[in-house]
């Protein structure tokens, strides 16, 4: 992909992302951050590519895959755990 197109894409992401993320209420800011941890694991894509390159240094790209996967799996899982806490009282209506 040409660098210019890539740039336009990144700017579009920044603008759209700002609109969407600014609307997340403070109530959900912690899950938002842990969800962002998961998304920052997107480096996994380039780490897998590095792993497939013969010239790249395997231990380094393996370490990158390990850490990025930990971010993805850990981030999504802990977010899921937290979001369930927010749902609990409304759903089950445990009498007080």
């Amino acid at each position: 992909m040409p660098t210019l197109v890539l740039f336009v894409f990144v700017v579009a992401c920044a603008l759209l992302g700002y609109r969407v993320i600014a609307a997340v209420p403070p109530l959900l800011h912690t899950p938002l951050m842990s969800g962002m941890n998961a998304l920052s694991g997107i480096t996994l894509l380039v780490a897998l590519r590095a792993l497939s390159h013969e010239s790249s240094v395997t231990p380094l790209s393996m370490a990158a895959v390990v850490l990025a996967t930990a971010n993805v799996v850990g981030g999504f899982w802990v977010t899921e755990r937290m979001l369930r806490m927010f749902q609990r009282p409304g759903k089950e209506e445990e009498g007080r």
Partner: protein, 470 residues
């Protein structure tokens, strides 16, 4: 056609999927769905990358994926809600490290033929990723208590950091122009040191700002590594993370009336010049105590009668509540008051916890309904019509000195106006100032009752006293 579809269409569609997931984070009802959509998009992206780069039959790939997944699950499954800030800090560090490591692994591919753009982006991703990594480890260590929470300061620190920053920029430019791996290694070492020094001198109370900022940096590192390696999805999603982190950083700074530069510099707010309107309404803070002249100072013996007579009660939780693990006790008190027909709400300051939204999670965990949690901007005008405020482990966020006194570290910080309520019961550990080090002038107020001690004991005592009169 095929390359066009996979190189552009797929990333665009998946990015829209991530954005929709974030849109669903607007409300707790849809947020679970949003998170799962994000996870699904990520799974698709990874599956596609595994197929595309032909690593399916590569044992190293599966070893690393399984190891990483196990590590992530182990961390995420055991973590307690009070430890959420250190987990997020640690994962920020992982994100930064992963981005830096990918670039480091690809250095053999970086020939002078790759062009200055590739070298420059590689150098930038390496330095941002490395600084994020070392800074996040220090932040996580401080939050977990492995490192002292106090800011570490020494003479010449500013000069040193500025010098290192300038040297870093020089190395960045050198890597782009001279295109020798040596410059990249030097830059990495410098960035690691820089992140370390920067995080060392930030104090515990500033953690909400620092974690948000590092969250942003981990995304920016991912985005730059995506640019360096021509991966639109990594660049786009990394940008989303960067933007989210910056939004939260700004929010946290505003909630503490600080600017990012001052926080990173480890200054107390008093050191920075501030616009004059910071102490704009000093009269308001003393109003309540002056106008209540008809009543004698309140003391602990008034508590049962106060609670019994109260119609509207506001709970103000602070980090001290989390430290003494008094969330359940607070929930029990709320239940008892509500059972007696009183209106009970919780007023949450944006920096009440150690990270954005931390207090909400702590309370949601023990079953406090999300409809009971109110943010500062929404609830602050209600204090004046509140009969009793119960502050649990909260000090700085209700300290009227923030609006009355000038030149203190919390001057100008927006506070919860507990001082406006008819009566305030403070359940804090002791009379010591909060993290800011500024004495709380609220404690001397005649309509304030202080119950010193562990909130895990003092709050149930309130509930008992209330039960004895109902």
């Amino acid at each position: 056609m095929m390359p066009w579809t996979t190189d552009f269409l797929l990333p665009a569609v998946l990015t829209l999927g991530f954005l929709q997931g974030l849109r669903w984070m607007r409300s707790p009802e849809t947020a679970v769905r949003g998170n799962r959509l994000g996870a699904g998009c990520m799974a698709l992206a990874v599956a596609f990358a595994v197929w595309r780069h032909g690593v399916f039959w590569l044992p190293q790939a599966w070893t690393a994926l399984v190891l990483g997944a196990a590590l992530g699950l182990a961390l995420a499954h055991r973590v307690k809600t009070i430890q959420m800030p250190q987990l997020v800090a640690l994962l920020n560090g992982f994100g930064g490290a992963a981005s830096a490591l990918v670039i480091a692994a690809m250095i053999p591919d970086l020939t002078p033929a790759a062009g200055p753009w590739s070298w420059l982006t590689a150098a930038a991703a390496l330095s941002v990723g490395s600084a994020t990594f070392s800074g996040s480890l220090v932040a996580a260590g401080k939050l977990q208590g492995y490192l002292a929470g106090r800011p570490l300061r020494f003479t010449g620190q500013n000069l040193l950091l500025r010098g290192l920053g300038a040297l870093g920029l020089f190395l960045l430019a050198a890597a782009g122009v001279l295109q020798q791996p040596g410059w990249l290694f030097a830059l990495t070492a410098l960035a690691l040191l820089y992140g370390l020094l920067l995080a060392m001198r930030v104090g515990g109370a500033d953690m909400p700002v620092v974690i948000s900022f590092l969250n942003s940096l981990s995304g920016i590192a991912a985005a730059i590594s995506g640019l360096a390696l021509q991966s639109p999805l990594a660049a786009g999603v990394g940008t989303l993370v960067g933007v989210a982190g910056l939004i939260l950083t700004r929010l946290m700074c505003r909630a503490m009336n600080r600017n990012l530069a001052a926080v990173l510099a480890g200054f107390a707010t008093a050191d920075q010049e501030r616009p004059g309107e910071a102490g704009g309404e000093p009269a308001a803070a003393t109003r309540a105590s002056d106008s209540d002249s008809d009543s004698a100072p309140l003391d602990a013996s008034h508590i049962p009668a106060l609670l019994q007579a109260a119609r509207r009660v506001l709970i103000v939780p602070g980090y001290g509540m989390a430290l003494s693990q008094a969330q359940q006790a607070v929930k029990n008190l709320m239940d008892a008051l509500e059972a007696a027909g009183k209106e009970v709400k919780v007023a949450v300051h944006p920096v009440a916890g150690r990270m954005p939204g931390h207090m909400h999670v702590l309370l949601a965990e023990v079953g406090v309904g999300v409809d009971k949690l109110y943010d500062m901007a929404k609830i602050n005008h209600e204090f004046a019509e509140t009969d009793v405020v119960v502050a649990v482990g909260a000090c700085d966020v209700i300290n009227p000195a923030a609006t009355t006194a000038k030149g203190t570290p919390i001057s100008g910080m927006p506070i919860l106006r507990a001082v406006d309520a008819r009566a305030v019961i403070v359940c804090n550990l002791d009379e010591q100032p909060g993290y800011s080090g500024v004495a709380n002038t609220l404690y001397q107020d005649p309509h304030v009752i202080t119950c010193w001690g562990d909130a895990a004991q003092t709050v149930p005592e309130l509930t008992r006293q209330f039960a004895s009169v109902t």
